[in-house]
Amino acid sequence: MQSEQPREQASSPPGPAATVSYLAAVGTALPGDPVDNATLARTLGVNEEWIDVFIGTRTRHFARDLETGEVRWSLADLCARAAEQALTASGLAPHEIDFVVMGTATPDHLMPATVNHVADQLGLDQIPTYQLQSGCAGAVQALQLGHTLVTGGGHKAGLVIGGDVCSKHLDLDRDLSAAAPSDLVNYVLFGDGAGAAVITSEPRGQRLALSGVLNRFTGLGREPGQVIDWFGLADRHDDRQAIREDYKAIEESVPVMAVEILWELLEDLDWTPEQVDFLLPPQLSGRMTRRIAEELGLPDAVEVSCVADTGNNGNALPFLQLEALLQKIGVGQRALAIAVESSKWIKSGFALEKI
């Protein structure tokens, strides 16, 4: 395989790793029934047509009951459910799992890290766990760490998990009928969910070779495109907005970054655009994702997206895309995934080949 050839530019910054790991199975968990735009519009007092036209997301799932505000699932619950599904589908026994890596921007607690609650629910013990605090790129970062651990860390198999519960910030008591679009967007864009994959050093289960992973901070000196705040005892009454986004910057930068990620992955792997059978583009919203996919210009690749149905549930997205990909990809086919984290401008992506 191409990716096994030694890379020429030994001095270049770490790009896709030179060795291959494998995804044996993927599992996902979405809380409850899908919430459609009509329901969301009714509950929040926003215009349904506006969501349809300007956001393009049709449904999403919430861990919090929209009627009662009751929290029905924790992030740990969702992640454990997804991981259990992946583990069962992989054919690996739980004791074969050597580590758990999890990416999330919305942990249940600052401590203990949610990944440890997930391990507990799965009955895993005496293994290293990692939680990576990150937005949309967290899942890819988790994949990269998992990849590193099985290719060079002496481990044979691990769980890689991503998930977010964004509905923590879904303030149901607020009247949004007069809110500005930039404020409204936060209420209609997001959703909750989790995903997981079993990563292995040898091909097992679905035998999806992870040929390369890209994860790079590119935000030196740049203002964040997105900020999610947290509050403690001392500042909980501050009148700060919990979520702030610079949508102009996001709309401008993300498509450009996505194209750069695409080409960096292709060149590192020595793949041509024609060799890419499936494209997993960034999942910002139904509308943005459509736009970015067009700009990426891979006419032969089949787009695999989910955000229009699942909402932007952060670190769950790449796994939801992977799950859809597994239904379609055949032996010998290739896929590229691209994710951009606009908080502090992180480029990420990965390349897959079914063997």
Partner: protein
């Protein structure tokens, strides 16, 4: 040696009532040692700090909790017999049962097999206490004691026919038992073996012996290989493992904890005194075990040492190990011993070590060895290639080899070499579905929802175990499908059957709790069947269809999908489209008869085929009008393809008929309508659904005239929404063309009993051929008659095979005459019906006694064994010596069953806590009759029951555990009590001994009215 798999484990050790708690204690480096419980003996009486003669230097030891609790009802052992049994026997019995369940096997399934039982035991203290008062030696005491009975009782109660023996080699007994069990498996003597060990300390004797021999630790704790090591602390325990040849375990898809690669046993021979350990023999037995396992010493990552914590014992053990491991390559051998946690469990020490090693390999972590942090420098461990397990050792991915030593006081040494389970041992070959075509290949199974099942011998036991299962599910997340499938395999065989469809483990746990707490719910979800259900399948006719019928089921259930696809393929060439697409798209065209008929046929064929695949044997069949087509395929009248061709033509030809026909349901007997019908040549009787339920069919205008008359007479009528006048003279124009095709498709004699709605009765060797199907078109549907005949045949369940329940409702009206108590089951209860509804129908049949083919409920990837919480026995009944051992002569020690329902359960023992307060299943009944009262009293006395635990309904053998010895005694007591009784031999009595009531009735005759 060929590898042997450890597939099931159960145990109880000091501070740890079950394997999970044992592992938790090991990982916490917990301490199971405590003061001698007052129930055993009064430690102060025998304590002397200096170890004076007749005294022990410690008041502590490792004791298990609840050694007196025994669920005698579960094993149908009478209280009197239970009270006479060595608690070691009682503990082993429950432990063995749970270990078998843990192996994923319903213990009933082992009955009659050559399964072997090998028990290591060295303590006989119960006999010392109870067999020395010769005047009080009873037959029960005889069978309740003796080493052999520890193993033989397991074989007896589980009905195991393989070798069954107790092994006593002192402290190495249970590892030697494991060695013998492996050999028996490999020699082909048995295919499954239960190897166990047990030790319960009832007297201070051994502690005094250890003290007098200078071997007893003053703090009652073994401190293996530690600088503080100062002797032995006594420990207790009971443990059992289920062993299989590895290849058998893999072939059967059993999960494997670990693999035994090699075992060896030898003897010290004439060493430095009979109790002194012998270094040369120890290193020989290690080498022999390595040889048998085919490993080099350096392959062994860790070893569970004997590690009694005596200065000499530790030294010799290290030297023997060092002989093989000094200078080994790689990391030194990691060494520890569980004796630091639980003390020296003597006869159970080997099994304690084996279970620890197996769990270590299973969890890929070797626990730290308690007291190892301060290692004994005199042992010079580093030089011997050994390090102590001062912290848990996480094992690397892949295979690891661990060793286990157990040495007997008399010089019989044993060593075992174990290895991690092979990676795929947990599951058989997984097949990979093609992307996008998952579940479409032939042989697809799965309803989309599993069914969780649990059985127990009483409702109280069921309730207790529901809670235990709920606890386990909430502790650890496991996928619902494999969990349910495993429950179907292991939790069967008892009288009371619980079943509940489940898609999510969390929801299931909640539902189990609710059921346990709610009597009404429990009654609804639990069956207590006396026989197998007799199932009648009722195939629904036109009018029951609706757009998207069974579409949800189709999407969720690969099994249903498979059969609907089959029907769709068979119909496709004849209907000019796809019935499947029609259903999935929710097309309203399903109401056009050209589509209605093939669509109903496809749905019913798929439902009936699914039921058959799920192991629901159709005893009787009935189809209402077009419903007869799918019924006929099931009865092998003609193959699917011919039926599809015929039903497609039937629908198409009818659709081509001019509209203008209709049907009128009339609440009147068809004979009362004859005059009105005869007056209208274009109207006929379409269906006779019951004595006062008639459907007229024909020309709309003519029907209108009849309707007017009936309404004036005050008769209730209802227009049916149909496109044509089915089963009426208006069908005439299509008959010739249909008959021509029917000639081609043919049709034979049904191979299952079909109650024909053309004939209104069971078809007796009559073909359902072209003539039949042609007649079927215009003949009235004689549902009422056919259904009445079917009910007379005595089905227990009417299962509606159609997109909504219609016929079961109509049958209800006919039931009063025949077949009251028949249950209706609807796999498709309505438009929202999905896999869960279908699963509920199957659950209902299981509760009623059906043994479904559970594999068909789950897709292949869900058929993975999951270990479930094992059976939680009742701890309501306690059996113990009346008084604890005192230093005074123990003349007053007696045996008495102790009803300690009020004894508080240990806080960690949820099962026990939940079980408390459970109602005993005895049926109290006021017994006025003096003979019956005398019989009940005599039975209670002989069995050791309370009077209110015995009723007329109690079965002597099955419920009360009577045996031949007890029958002899019962006869004597009856003769004492009933003075008017004629002379009677046991021979006379034997045939009358089913229930207490039967016995009482028999005696009543022989006594007349003369009662003492």
């Amino acid at each position: 040696m060929r590898p042997v798999a450890i597939v099931g484990i159960d145990c109880r050790f000091p501070g740890a009532p079950d394997p999970a708690a044992y592992w938790d204690m090991l990982m916490r480096s917990g301490d199971g040692v405590e003061k001698v419980p007052r129930q055993r003996w009064d430690a102060r009486d025998f304590h002397s700090r200096t170890g004076a003669e007749g005294h022990s230097n410690t008041t502590e030891g490792g004791f298990i909790s609840d050694p007196d609790a025994f669920d005698n009802d579960f094993f149908t052992v009478s209280p009197r017999e239970a009270a006479a049994m060595d608690p070691q026997q009682r503990l082993l019995l429950q432990c063995a049962w749970r270990a078998v369940e843990d192996a994923g096997v319903a213990p009933h399934r082992l009955a009659g097999t050559d399964t072997g039982v090998f028990v290591g035991v060295m303590g006989n203290e119960w006999a010392h206490l109870h067999m020395t008062d010769y005047a009080k030696v009873t037959p029960q005491l005889g069978s309740g004691n003796g080493y052999c009975m520890t193993a033989n009782r397991i074989s007896y109660h589980l009905d195991l026919k393989g070798p069954s023996l107790a092994v006593d080699t002192a402290c190495s007994s249970s590892l030697v038992a494991v060695h013998l069990a492996c050999n028996a498996l490999l020699a082909g003597e048995c295919d499954t073996a239960i190897a166990a060990g047990v030790n319960v300390a009832l007297t201070p004797a051994l502690g005094i012996f250890y003290t007098q021999a200078g071997l007893s630790a003053p703090d009652g704790r073994c401190k293996p290989f530690s600088a503080d090591a100062d002797g032995i602390g006594r420990g207790e325990g009971v443990g059992a493992v289920v062993l299989r040849r590895l290849e058998d375990a893999i072939a059967d898809g059993q999960p494997v904890y670990a693999v035994i690669r090699g075992t060896a046993v030898n003897q010290d021979g004439r060493s430095n005194g009979i109790t002194a350990p012998n270094r040369w023999s120890q290193q020989d037995v290690l080498a022999a075990a390595y040889r048998r396992a085919g490993v080099e010493p350096s392959d062994v990552t860790f070893t569970e040492g004997h590690g009694t914590g005596t200065v000499l014992g530790d030294m010799i053990e290290i030297k023997a190990l060092g002989h093989l491991h000094a200078g080994r390559s790689g990391r030194p051998l990691a060494l520890g011993s569980v004796k630091g946690n639980i003390g020296h469990a003597e006869g159970a020490a080997g099994i304690a070590g084996l279970i620890k090693v197996a769990l270590s390999l299973h969890h890929k972590t070797v626990p730290a060895s308690r007291f190892a942090a301060k290692e004994n420098p005199a042992l010079k461990l580093a030089k011997q290639g050994i390090r102590l397990l001062k912290a848990p050792l996480r094992l690397r991915s892949g295979s690891t080899i661990g060793g286990l030593s157990s040495f007997g006081m008399g010089g019989t040494n044993a060593h075992a070499v174990l290895e991690s389970a092979p990676p795929y041992a947990a599951r058989p070959e997984a097949t990979e579905p093609e992307p996008g075509r998952a579940g479409q290949s032939t042989g697809s199974t799965g309803l989309g929802t599993g069914v969780f099942t649990l059985t127990a011998p009483s409702t109280a036991a069921l309730r207790r175990n529901l809670l235990v299962q709920a606890d386990a599910m909430e502790r650890r997340r496991v996928p619902a499908g494999p969990l349910c499938w495993s429950s179907n395999r292991t939790k069967t065989g008892h009288r009371y059957r619980f079943a509940l469809p489940a898609r999510d483990t969390g929801e299931l746990a909640t539902a189990l709790r609710e059921t346990a707490a709610d009597d009404d719910l429990l009654a609804r979800l639990v069956g207590n069947p006396t026989g197998k259900p007799q199932v009648a399948l009722l195939f629904t006719g036109q009018g029951s269809q609706y757009p998207a019928m069974t579409a949800r089921l189709y999407l969720q259930s690969p099994l249903y999908r498979r059969f609907l696809n089959e029907a769709d393929e068979a119909l496709a060439p004849h209907v000019g489209g796809s019935v499947r697409e029609l259903l999935l798209s929710g097309d309203e065209a399903v109401h056009r008869t050209g589509w209605t008929q093939p669509a109903l046929f496809a749905v019913e064929y798929a439902l009936a085929s699914s039921l058959t695949e799920l192991g629901v044997p159709p005893a009787l069949l009935l189809g209402h009008s077009v419903g007869e087509y799918a019924a006929a395929v099931l009865a092998e009248v003609f193959p699917l393809e011919q039926a599809a061709r015929l039903i497609a033509a039937r629908g198409a030809l009818m659709e081509q008929l001019p509209e203008g026909g209709g049907m009128l349901a009339v609440r009147a007997a068809h004979t009362d309508l004859a005059e009105l019908v005869d007056a209208e040549p274009l109207v006929g009787v379409g269906a006779v659904n019951g004595p006062k339920a008639t459907v007229l069919s024909g020309d709309l205008a003519a029907l209108g005239r009849i309707d007017d008359v009936l309404v004036r007479q005050g008769v209730r009528t209802r227009r049916l929404e149909v496109s044509h006048a089915f089963h009426s003279p208006l069908m005439e124009p299509m008959l010739d063309r249909f008959a021509a095709l029917a000639d081609e498709t043919g049709g034979g004699i049904p191979k299952l009993p079909v109650y024909s709605t053309v004939r209104g009765r069971l078809l007796e060797a009559e073909p359902m051929d072209a003539k039949y199907w042609t007649e079927h078109i215009s003949a009235p549907v004689l549902f009422g008659d056919a259904m009445a005949r079917l009910l007379e045949a005595g089905p227990t369940h009417l299962v509606e095979v159609g997109p909504r329940p219609v016929l079961t409702g109509m049958a209800r009206a006919l039931r009063s005459a025949a077949g009251a108590g028949v249950h209706s089951v609807a796999p498709v209860p309505g438009e929202e019906a999905d896999g869960r509804a279908f699963a509920e129908a199957l659950a209902e049949l299981f509760r009623s006694g059906l043994e479904p083919r559970w594999d068909a409920v789950y897709p292949q990837e869900e058929r993975q064994p999951q270990r479930l919480a094992t059976y939680a026995f009742s701890d309501a009944h306690r059996f113990w010596a009346r008084t604890p051992v005192r230093s005074a002569p123990a003349a007053d020690i007696g045996v008495a069953p102790e009803r300690a329902d009020a004894v508080p359960a240990q806080p960690w023992d949820q099962a026990a806590a939940n079980g408390r307060g459970a109602v005993l299943s005895a049926v109290p009944s006021a017994v006025e009759d003096p003979v019956a009262r005398a019989v009940i009293e005599a039975v209670a006395e002989v069995g050791g029951y309370a009077n209110d635990e015995v009723s007329r309904l109690s079965l002597l053998y099955e419920d009360l555990g009577f045996d031949s010895v007890m029958i002899m005694e019962l006869k004597d007591r009856l003769q004492d009590r009933l003075t008017g009784l004629e002379a009677m031999s046991v021979q006379d009595l034997l045939p009358r001994l089913s229930s207490v009531g039967d016995l009482a009735d028999y005696l009543q005759d022989r006594v007349g009215s003369a009662v003492a």
